[in-house]
Amino acid sequence: MRWPFGKTYSQRCPDGSIKTVYRNIDDAFPLFIPGWQGDVTAGAGASAAAAGLGDVKAEVKGAYASKVQAVVFAIDELTQTVMINFRSVYLAFATDPCANSDFLRREIEKLVAEQQRIARLRIQAKALIELARAQPDQTVEILKMFKELAGGIGGSVAREAVAIEIVEARQLADKWTGQ
């Protein structure tokens, strides 16, 4: 049934099942992506606040500020990518709900897994911000945390993690060889 002003409409499929489709993709967001605010174009202002991490600049000063900001920006980017993916997946579903319902289910499963990973990264980032703010002299711990986090995020942030890893591997090998 298609009511002209309804948020959703239903479509009966040849197999007898009924699929409900949101007319406006933004309305479908809160169902699947918790914390989504419905503005996919918020990219330019990608900030810690958007990633739910508060104001990094105000909280972390000194040597770690740029590292933490890079991490926060990368997490926001990951979130935005999930949004874009969801939009396009839902568009495919809305185009042909009967043929693409399995596709939607599988893709949602993948997106939920990705969303959970982002949630974990966000918690790690919060811990990193807190540590860098409260105990900026804990260099070893901060770098270890940053390395884990940046490695988990991947992309350009991982470059710094690799550099740290190489330095550590060299130190370890020196210790082993007795140099």
Partner: protein, 414 residues
């Protein structure tokens, strides 16, 4: 049951043998198997270096308990027991050595006696034992590949003429040990384009499903990690599943199926379905990008109309007020019309300011960038999945069997 001993060999260095050994071991551990890796590479001690931190910690632990930690190149033939490292992946490791030394100087006889003893002692404690052999055809590598110590040999090779010739040389040198039944050739770091012709190889030797080249593997390795993603899945993990299925077949078939059924769609679904989904996803992304572009154009048009309308209303109102209340004298009404061309640049300026204030153009650029990047990711994924589809050795063998099956009684004709 005694462990199956698999020797990972290669004709030349740099084939990715050590990383694959660690990857296979880690994956088999997730299937609930007990796995030991033995670093039998005297030249590079690759596995030992890969898990150096854990190795050094184990050495310290042994020292604190007044034991001398011994690796495979230490003298294990008599009384000393092998010191096993529990790696972060869950697989166990017997390093080349705990104390830094040139393991290439160790007499071959001592190594062989150590290997023999270690396998005797530990064979019942594990389901799989991987020997990470030295690249090339020297005596230490030959011992690891020998039928006396390993049940299967996987020759890891890159896909290039030099490597192909190297594999043939290795097979020629150790003809008695590298028989068809117990020897697999595993093409690693194969470019997705080249995998398309993989089925041609199936005719000439026992090839395992190849591992397509994947930048994620390099990135993960640079961080001293394995590229396996057992939660969300990735193409490398799918390739490893496919390769292990072709090498170990029935041995792990049921465990693998049961494990996969508990995973997310990214791992659980067959590669064909994953490919179709990726294709559908890409199509949809392109459509969404086009729609988005239309939406942005509509937004801009609305903004332009709003500015024009505002200007008309404001200027009309201003003219009315001036004429109605007679500001600047009664005859000003006639002089005000020549000033109207100012309204055009003024309107344009207001429009540009409105765009800047709303941040519309920057947002659009960022979004366009995201779309393009996501498009690249999906295109890359499609290419990799297509390669994996062509690389399924088990399926290719099944097809080959069906071709060679007698139409009368269904028996395979060989």
């Amino acid at each position: 049951m005694a462990a199956m001993v698999i020797c990972m060999a290669s004709a030349k260095g740099g084939s990715g043998k050590t990383v694959l050994t660690a990857t296979f071991a880690a994956f088999l551990v997730t299937l609930g198997k007990r796995v030991l890796m033995i670093d039998t590479d005297a030249a590079t001690n690759g596995l030992t270096l890969m898990f150096l931190k854990e190795t050094m910690m184990q050495s310290d632990t042994a020292l604190s308990q007044r034991r001398t930690a011994s690796g495979i190149f230490d003298d294990l033939s008599k009384t000393a027991s092998p010191e096993i490292v529990k790696t972060s992946t869950g697989a166990h490791l017997l390093p080349a050595t705990y104390q830094f030394k040139n393991t290439e100087l160790i007499p071959v006889g001592q190594f062989e006696a150590s290997l023999q003893r270690v396998l005797q002692v530990l064979k019942d404690d594990y389901d799989y034992i991987f020997l990470d052999a030295q690249a090339g055809a020297d005596s230490v590598a030959h011992i690891a590949m020998s039928q006396n110590y390993s049940n299967q040999v996987v020759i890891v090779s890159e896909y290039d003429p030099l490597s192909a010739a190297g594999v043939e040389r290795l097979k020629g040198l150790f003809r008695e040990d590298l028989t068809y039944v117990r020897t697999w050739i595993l093409l690693n770091k194969m470019l997705p384009d080249f995998v398309q012709s993989f089925s041609d190889f199936m005719e000439v030797a026992k090839y395992a499903s190849p591992i397509p080249w994947d930048a994620d593997v390099v990135r993960a390795y640079a961080r001293r990690r394995l590229a396996l993603d057992l939660e969300r899945g990735n193409e490398f993990t799918l390739a490893v599943v496919q390769t292990l299925r072709s090498i170990l077949g029935d041995e792990i078939g049921a465990d693998l199926d049961s494990w996969l059924s508990s995973r997310t769609a990214a791992l659980r679904e067959p590669i064909q379905t994953q490919y179709e989904d990726a294709e559908r996803g890409l199509e949809s992304l392109i459509r969404e990008q086009a729609l988005n572009s239309l939406r942005a154009r509509a937004r801009r048009l609305r903004l332009q109309l709003a500015v024009i309308l505002t200007l008309i209303l404001v200027s009309g109102g201003a003219v009315y007020v001036v004429r109605r209340f007679g500001f600047f004298g009664q005859d000003l009404g006639g002089k005000i019309w020549p000033l109207t061309p100012i309204l055009v640049p003024l309107g344009y300026a207001i429009y540009r300011i409105a765009i800047l204030v709303t941040g519309d153009s920057i947002d659009r650029e960022v979004e366009e960038y995201r779309f393009s990047r996501q498009r690249e990711v999906l295109q890359d994924r499609l290419k990799k999945l297509e390669a994996l589809k062509s690389a399924d050795a088990a399926a290719l063998l099944r097809n080959k069997d069906s071709i060679l099956r007698s139409p009368r009684d269904g028996k395979v004709i060989r």
